[in-house]
């Protein structure tokens, strides 16, 4: 199933990538970084990417999603670790360590096959 949330992000990204696409050659790979706060599912983003790029000049390009996880800090024992989910207990027994995550959503690189003219 296509996530509606991921769909609108994929549409905005596709428009952005097409502005960078060379007149000759094609976009092979697209790299983005996503903060965990955004709540985006990489698999769903990739499915939406296939759907929104279908029939466009960037069809067939592969979307790479670098998902930045939650950072969990325990105020009882001071331990810090990363987690895919925000609400987790600490091994020291503290039931509610503090979750923080970024909301970045950035296009970081394109890999392009260019024809020499």
């Amino acid at each position: 199933m296509l996530g509606v949330h991921e769909f609108s992000i994929a549409e905005a990204l596709a428009a952005q990538v097409q502005r960078h696409a060379p007149a000759t050659g094609r976009v092979r790979e697209v790299e983005i970084t996503v903060g965990a706060l955004r709540g985006l599912e990489p698999d769903s983003l990739r499915m939406c990417w296939e759907a929104v790029t279908h029939g466009t000049p960037i069809a067939g390009s592969v979307l790479h999603v670098d998902l930045r996880p939650w950072s969990i800090t325990c105020s009882t024992c001071g331990r810090t670790w990363s987690s895919p989910v925000p609400f987790v207990a600490c091994t020291c027994g503290d039931p509610a360590p503090v979750p923080t995550a970024g909301d970045e959503l950035d296009l970081v690189a394109l890999t392009i096959d260019e024809e020499d003219s």
């Binding site: 992000i9 905005a12 952005q16 609400f87 509610a96 909301d103 392009i112 260019e114």
Partner: protein, 218 residues
């Protein structure tokens, strides 16, 4: 690799929603220049966004000059309800869109005589996820939760809680009838966003509306 072809990796640093954010910045500048305080109201379908705004507009009648933009997928019903209490209501029909975007707000603002306005409410489409990521140019984001959604709703939507300048907990009059743990809700909210105020309100009974209006006018 075939002759005459080369593969290049081009590093970029661009926000994906840059185009939206630029329009939002223009909206924000326009609203601030005119001294209009603006609120993006975000909540689930059925949380009482329209009911809260109806009660708020009624309370502000004769005192303030509000305008309302209301996003809805398909109907004009919310706009019609709000128009009973406010003469500057613009309905934005989003069609398939599950959230408002800055350009829709920009177009809607062009339909209002803003010289006559000192407060702007933007009722977003009922959705706790998508609207959070799209800046509209508002001064404040308000996250509206309600008791009937359950006390774990905030924990399940950390982006809204983290981004909110105020959390409203609506339908507080139903507290005696539901197994809603108010302390769990508050602890989850403050773990994600330690400084955000939480105001208990009931759009139906009017409980807590004074504090909400005081927050708007602070």
């Amino acid at each position: 690799m075939p002759e005459g072809k080369r593969t290049t990796r081009v590093p970029l640093v661009e926000r994906v929603l840059e185009a939206n954010d630029e329009v939002a910045a223009a909206n924000r500048a326009d609203l601030e220049r005119r001294g209009i305080f603006s609120v993006d109201l975000i909540g689930a379908p059925g949380s009482g966004k329209t009911a809260l705004l109806e009660a708020t507009l009624r309370a502000l009648r004769g005192r303030r000059h509000p305008a309302v933009l209301v996003g809805d997928l398909a109907t004009r019903r919310d706009g019609d309800r709000l128009a009973r209490w406010c003469d500057k209501v613009v309905q934005i029909s989003t069609g398939q869109g599950c959230h408002l975007e800055a350009n829709q707000v920009r177009d809607a603002l062009a339909e209002i005589e803003l010289d006559m306005v000192d407060l702007l409410f933007i009722e977003n489409v009922g959705n706790l996820i998508c609207p959070v990521g799209f800046d509209l140019g508002q001064a404040a984001k308000v996250g509206l939760f309600s008791l009937t959604e359950g006390d774990d709703k905030a924990a399940k939507h950390p982006y809204l809680v983290e981004a909110a300048d105020l959390i409203l907990l609506n339908k507080i009059d139903l507290l005696p009838y539901l197994s809603f743990d108010r302390r769990t809700f508050e602890a989850d909210v403050h773990l994600l966003n330690p400084r955000v105020p939480i105001l208990d309100v009931s759009a139906t009974t009017g409980e807590g509306l004074d504090a909400w209006i005081a927050w708007l006018e602070r």
